[in-house]
């Protein structure tokens, strides 16, 4: 591989359309890559050593972890005994590079710290509301090992916060059809460079199971279902 051939994330990435040629997943030394559909919400990717909070457990957490897993990172998921593994695999997480710790128990901060030592991305649903001391300690561990902590819950002082503001399922009616795709509006804000709040419409998941950028949101067009047919990720 030619050293000049790869795209370094975070440098010169246009935040508007993101239509860069190159690999689907960007790679870089101080960021973990994210799925192409999330690039506008997280310009550059997931900053190593940072904490990303998502408010609630949802498929969005898995989508956040998928980019790093596709790029070859080990991921750990802890505190989620009812994780749907098929959904994780469909979102792009590689089961071969995944550790599941369903019930970390009362010592969950210790477990999360140990996992951050070995895995580049740790998805955590804290069983209890973390104290300020626990938060500071885990933030320090993430910084030291250069890992990313994705929290399915609230985390005061998270570097980046994502939340699903609205969602709508398509393909299912009263008594017929089936769940096919979900249109969600994701809002991202954070600290520092990521302070500007951004909102994007995503297919989570899309009709083909993948996470993709939606062309239009709920109410913005009344042809919601056909819109994914001609959709492009750019």
């Amino acid at each position: 591989m030619r050293p000049g051939g790869c795209v370094i994330a975070g440098f010169g990435l246009p935040s508007g359309d993101g239509a860069l040629p190159g690999p689907d997943v960007l790679s870089g030394s101080d960021v973990l890559p994210v799925l192409p559909a999330l690039r506008e919400l997280l310009p550059g990717g997931l900053q190593r050593g940072s904490v990303v909070a998502t408010g609630n457990w949802s498929l969005l957490c898995l989508a956040l972890a998928a980019g790093a897993s596709i790029a070859g990172s080990w991921c750990a998921i802890t505190g989620l005994p009812d994780l749907g593994m098929m959904a994780a695999a469909d979102a792009g997480l590689d089961p071969g590079r995944l550790l599941l710790i369903a019930d970390p128990g009362d010592g969950w901060p210790q477990v999360a710290a140990s996992l951050l030592d070995g895995c580049e991305l740790v998805l955590l649903r804290p069983p209890t509301r973390p104290s300020a001391q626990v938060r500071r300690r885990l933030e320090a561990v993430a910084r030291r090992h250069g890992g990313v902590l994705v929290v399915a819950g609230d985390w005061d002082g998270a570097h980046c916060r994502l939340a699903v503001a609205r969602q709508e399922w398509t393909g299912i009616e009263a008594g017929h059809g089936r769940l096919r795709a979900r249109l969600v509006q994701v809002i991202a804000d954070g600290r520092g460079a990521a302070a500007r709040s951004r909102a994007r419409w995503l297919w989570l998941p899309g009709p083909d199971g993948a996470v993709a950028v939606a062309a239009a949101g709920i109410g913005e067009t009344d042809e919601a279902i056909p819109s994914w047919r001609g959709m492009s990720t750019g």
Binding site: N56, L83, L99, I101, P104, G107, V111, G175
Partner: protein, 493 residues
């Protein structure tokens, strides 16, 4: 013990029918079989484990000591049966015939077999010396366990080992190559290889005493490194490696703290010492938690609760050292960093707490994944990549409840919605209350999709009718009706 090639030694095989024939060499079955091996080793320390459920010893010496082959076979079966394990023993020339002799059922007779004397003839037979070819002759060629021969030989009119043995040896080798020659030797009652018993493991454990007892964990960990080095040297001198190593720390009050660590011949002395440190730390953390004390797991104040008087390392499941066994945990290469983190969490929470998922087949969202503890390999419960008619269509739910949660679904008038045996819904579902939660209006629904699994088995069979429901808060649920009860199986978070 030594015998010329071609004149096979007398072999006694012990067969325990409780173990499935395809039990893996490492795993819970192999560990459970250890107790049988221990008992058999009382009679002859050099036991070869053929597979979990079957082991063999050279019979000549022990038979002389214990008063004859029948007496030896009876004593061994009695001793194993005393453990509460079903067991049969057979003696013949060579391992191959002995394995078959051990599996002869109680009432069967075979030509050329000297039935063991006694009122109650135990299962398994003793084939008199020199009669092994006659004993083998009536067996079908499929017992050779060479798949291509099992189909090929009968088509050539060779149905039994006797037929095969009557072929000239050179022709068998010409026509079927090396496996044919080997099979021909087996059919004639000759052994293709001598018994390779495992050496007695007792003398390979190492230990160190602490006098006065070590109050701090640091000197214990330091001594553990030297101890592990000694254990590795002892193993290497015999060309062996251990699958696991048992670390046993004895405290002043006589309490033993024992833990098994997966080794696979891959751990350095330093790595073993590190595991000893984790073991001591986790024990102390557990002690603190029980006492209600704070500061669980802060390595700075590493004082032990009571001093350690002895540290012992026992290599477990000795295997021949064949170099590094890579890919033991599956295809993905596991870096030291990940393995260390996973093992560290296993120290805190137990072996089964850190799981690696594997995608499997099945219809349920919960069935479609098999979990294996980190460090173990386990085949998927249901094969993936096959059509599973009736499986839930994509997208897959992000939350799958390990135990389905009870729910209530009513129609417009407030009566519970039911599904008939012919999958007809009594009325459109209108409201849902999941797990005693608030009532939510159902805005869209699909179903019922009947699932009638394993109807032939009363215990594991079940009939369900599945629905997808979307409630007013735009949450989607995977629900099912079983025996008139609504269950939430998963939710599309």
């Amino acid at each position: 013990m030594s015998s010329a090639r071609g004149a096979p030694q007398r072999v006694l095989a012990v067969w325990c029918p409780d173990w499935p024939p395809d039990a893996p060499d490492a795993g819970p079955e192999a560990r459970a079989f250890e107790q049988v091996i221990t008992v058999v080793a009382e009679f002859c320390p050099r036991v070869e484990v053929v597979r979990p459920g079957m082991c063999a010893i050279g019979a000549r010496g022990p038979a002389r000591y214990f008063g004859g082959e029948e007496a030896l076979a009876r004593k061994i079966t009695d001793a194993v049966t005393a453990l509460g394990i079903d067991c049969q023993a057979g003696i013949a020339d060579g391992l191959f015939a002995a394995r078959l002799a051990a599996r002869v059922p109680a009432s069967a007779g075979s030509p050329g077999v000297m039935a063991p004397p006694g009122v109650m003839a135990p299962p398994g037979v003793i084939v008199a010396p020199g009669r092994t070819p006659a004993f083998l002759a009536p067996y079908p060629v499929s017992v050779l366990d060479i798949p291509e021969f099992a189909g090929l030989l009968p088509r050539l009119g060779i149905w039994t080992l006797g037929d095969f043995a009557r072929l000239p040896a050179a022709e068998a080798a010409n026509r079927f190559g090396a496996p044919g020659e080997r099979a021909h030797r087996l059919s004639r009652g000759l052994d293709p290889r001598p018994l390779t018993p495992r050496p007695p493991p007792a003398d390979l454990s190492v230990q160190i005493e602490f006098d006065p007892p070590a109050e701090q964990s640091e000197p214990v960990v330091f001594a553990a490194k030297a101890l592990a080095g000694r254990m590795h040297a002892g193993l290497a001198a015999r060309g062996l490696a251990c699958v696991r190593v048992q670390v046993q720390a004895t405290y002043e009050d006589g309490q033993d703290l024992t833990r098994l660590w997966r080794h696979d011949g891959l751990l350095s002395a330093l790595a073993v010492a590190e595991r000893v440190r984790w073991q001591l730390d986790s024990w102390r953390a557990g002690q603190d938690a029980r006492d209600g004390g704070p500061g669980a797991g802060d390595p700075a104040e590493a004082s032990l609760v009571g001093g350690i008087t002895r540290l012992r390392m026992i290599p477990d499941q000795l295997v021949r050292d064949e170099g590094r066994q890579l890919g033991l945990w599956g295809d993905a290469v596991i870096s030291d960093r990940v393995a260390r983190a996973a093992t560290r969490v296993q120290t805190m929470l137990g072996h089964e707490a850190v799981m690696r998922p594997m995608l499997a087949g099945g219809r349920d969202p919960a069935e479609q994944v098999t979990l294996a503890p980190f460090g173990d390999s386990r085949p998927p419960l249901l094969p993936a990549g096959r059509p599973w008619p009736g499986r839930i269509p994509a997208p897959a739910p992000a939350t799958v409840y390990p135990v389905p949660r009870p729910a209530r679904v009513t129609d417009d008038s407030g009566t519970a919605v039911t599904v008939t045996g012919r999958a007809v819904v009594s009325a459109p579902p209108v409201r849902l209350s999941a797990d005693g939660g608030p009532w939510l209006a159902i805005t869209a629904w699909a179903g019922p999709w009947p699932v009638n699994e394993r109807w032939w088995a009363a215990a594991s069979g079940r009939r369900r009718a599945r629905f997808q429901l979307v409630t007013e808060d735009e949450n989607a649920w995977l629900a099912a009706v079983q025996d008139g009860q609504w269950l939430i199986e998963a939710s599309y978070d």
